[in-house]
Symmetry: C2
Subunit: 409 residues, 2 copies
């Protein structure tokens, strides 16, 4: 399958790299090779492996019947929307990572796709590599989705994590986020909740089957959150998280909101720190499902785009076949050759002497203590080594009888 | 699409119920109605809505060309394997929740599916409703999967959670698990790690493209774990979890193991408690992705089976179209009508008087304290009510100036 990439910025470059560098994976998993034939960009990429593929005119893509799938990684609504629509009207599949486009224009693009028997896919548009779009559209399709709530913006989650865990002010934390490249110079779209709002709209549209527009949902950012708020939250075991949340109400309407919430400190979502994202989805049959991962980043986002491209290739061939090969000989490694640190608990006649011996034999261990332990009990954690080696050392200890061995993840 | 259900036990009944009870969802999401025409079972289901559909002879299914997809929820390897293979050889799609069958026989069934242009799908076979199969096969297909580790058995996770959080012995915790129906009378398959082992094999087979058999991987259960181990783990911030884990090694081999591990207490996977399951997958582009949800249970598992059936319907029509409808008027509810509890922080001239007034106005609040708070600062959490009502009460307080309002999830 030959494809074109429109817009070779951060994500677009990632798409070309994965496609260029993993030919075997493409062939095995998509059922055929995938090749980037054109790169539509205003730059020339002189002296790079991209140079010969760069074009400046969308018509070259539109008029080349070899191009079955087009990747849109330009960003913004125009000219992305016009280009995508034209591609779909030519019967070409479109895969995009552009959440502004999907949030504003998906319904028109779906129609163009249906009318021309092409696919319009956008796994990468919401939370980069987290497979939330496919999960909602396909895996959970036997469920009525009753609600979802998610940490959908990594920048604000990074800032809140710094504020809560390191008692940093909003301004200090924002500055670090900007230095690390997580926040833009003008951070408005992130900190005011607009980015999370677009993603909330896309997810609500899938969950409830009707287009929900960004301007319709109440959106609050995190600028007003103070360290005092974080302290009060902590005093009752809460953490503060910016969530996008939508519920199907009993009256048939949709409630959707983006704003900071207190979340219980022992909930999974409260443990999502830094630039990571997570989405909790509730279905009427499945109960709660949570998906977690990197919500942004070149590689993660690009791999989601290429995943959609490969799905287009499989669908084209009406490929319904999951697959793995028959077992080859000698493919499983002996588990005693894996490297692990081990926790070991056991007993010795003379514990203090035995510990000296254990330390020496293993070349250093971390001795553990517990309340009310009997005097002859010893517990420790070894360094990381092949399990066989550690067990060999252990078996040579004459003054120590192991009772329990547990691997450290 | 007409389907047959082979084996109408716990999961099979769930499949028939979802299909019978959600005709609109089937039609909208799969693109056509889905109807259970036959139920193959040794029981008669006399007096139930199933009675007229019960059959005893697999040949009725095999010889009925109307049946496009067959659900196998019998369990065990035979006769499930023979029945599934015959269905595939007739060009019928097979959807199964049977992990023993997939772990032992998938490769043969894949071949039968490919040769006869039918689908063989098994999302429900690993961790019930968690969409790990589709995620690995499709969403992450642009990644080389380098490793995964998961809590794949809810029964053992329930027992370990009880041991760690409530200082219960293994035997006590097992007894409660049996009383709650989480553990069987003979709990061997769960507590010895055999069930987690089968799931580990299925996931390793997908991740690394080669069939991995249960008898090839080292498997340890949780019978030997003691409260002393849990105490030592806790003393260093660890929790004990039974994990199924597999890595692709640099030498090309696969390491795969099922055994208890110490996991860091601040990791997401350590927060997975009770009968819940979670799988962390690492890909070379995407980094870490974690999926979490109910790993068992009639409804969750059945909804995964029906999700696969609907996918078969979509694939049949070469359906590549994600879809939502154009926006209808008045579908978004005013956010101030949502019910929430609110955290409110603000200032009062006379805090102790103001608190009395606040309590009275809201009909009871939970007052929060923090160190070094100024005397005139007040923070509290209201009861749950429509946000508008709470804000109206707040606006009528003359002796309190709110500075921060955050919703409680």
């Amino acid at each position: 399958m030959k494809i074109a990439v429109m817009g070779c910025g951060i994500v677009g470059t990632g798409v070309v790299e994965i496609t260029d560098n993993k030919p075997d994976l493409m062939k095995n998993s998509a059922g055929e090779p995938i090749e980037v034939k054109y790169i539509l960009d205003i730059r020339d990429f002189t002296g790079t492996p991209y140079e010969s593929r760069v074009i400046k005119d969308i018509d070259i893509i539109l008029n080349d019947s070899e191009i079955e799938t087009v990747v849109e990684t330009m960003g913004g609504i125009e000219p992305a929307f016009t280009f995508c629509k034209k591609c779909l009207e030519k019967g070409k599949n479109v895969v995009t990572s552009n959440k502004a486009l999907v949030a504003a224009k998906a319904e028109e693009l779906f129609s163009a796709a249906r009318e021309n028997n092409a696919a319009f896919m956008f796994e990468a548009a919401v939370c980069g590599g987290i497979p939330v779009i496919r999960t909602m559209f396909s895996s959970l399709s036997a469920n009525n989705i009753t609600s979802f709530a998610g940490i959908l913006n990594g920048t604000t989650n990074f800032i809140l994590t710094k504020m809560i865990n390191e008692k940093m002010s909003f301004d200090q934390a924002l500055k670090i986020a900007q230095e690390k490249g997580y926040a833009e110079k003008d951070p408005t779209a992130d900190v005011e909740g607009l980015d999370a709002g677009r993603k909330t709209c896309i997810l609500a549209s899938i969950a409830y089957g009707t287009h929900v527009y960004p301007e319709e949902i109440h959106t609050e950012g995190i600028r007003k959150i103070t360290l005092e708020d974080a302290a009060y939250a902590a005093s009752k075991g809460y953490k503060i998280k910016l969530l996008g949340k939508a519920d199907k109400l009993k009256n048939g309407k949709i409630s959707a909101i983006v704003c900071p919430f207190f979340v219980e400190g022992n909930s999974l979502i409260s443990g999502v720190n830094g630039v990571y994202n997570a989405i909790s989805i509730t279905g009427d049959s499945i109960g709660d499902v949570l998906l977690y991962g990197q919500g942004a980043g070149r590689e993660a986002t690009a791999s989601a785009v290429v995943g959609d491209v490969m799905e287009c290739a499989r669908l084209k061939k009406n490929e319904k076949h999951y697959y793995w090969a028959e077992h080859q000989e000698d493919i499983i490694e002996d588990y005693e050759l894996y490297e692990n640190a081990l926790y070991i608990r056991g007993y010795a006649k003379n514990a203090s002497e035995s510990i000296i011996n254990i330390r020496e034999s293993f070349g250093g261990v971390e001795v553990l203590k517990r309340e009310d332990a009997p005097e002859n009990e010893i517990a420790f954690i070894t360094g990381k080594a092949k399990e066989k080696e550690l067990r060999d050392i252990l078996s040579e200890l004459t003054d120590f009888a192991p009772a329990s061995i547990i691997r450290i993840l």
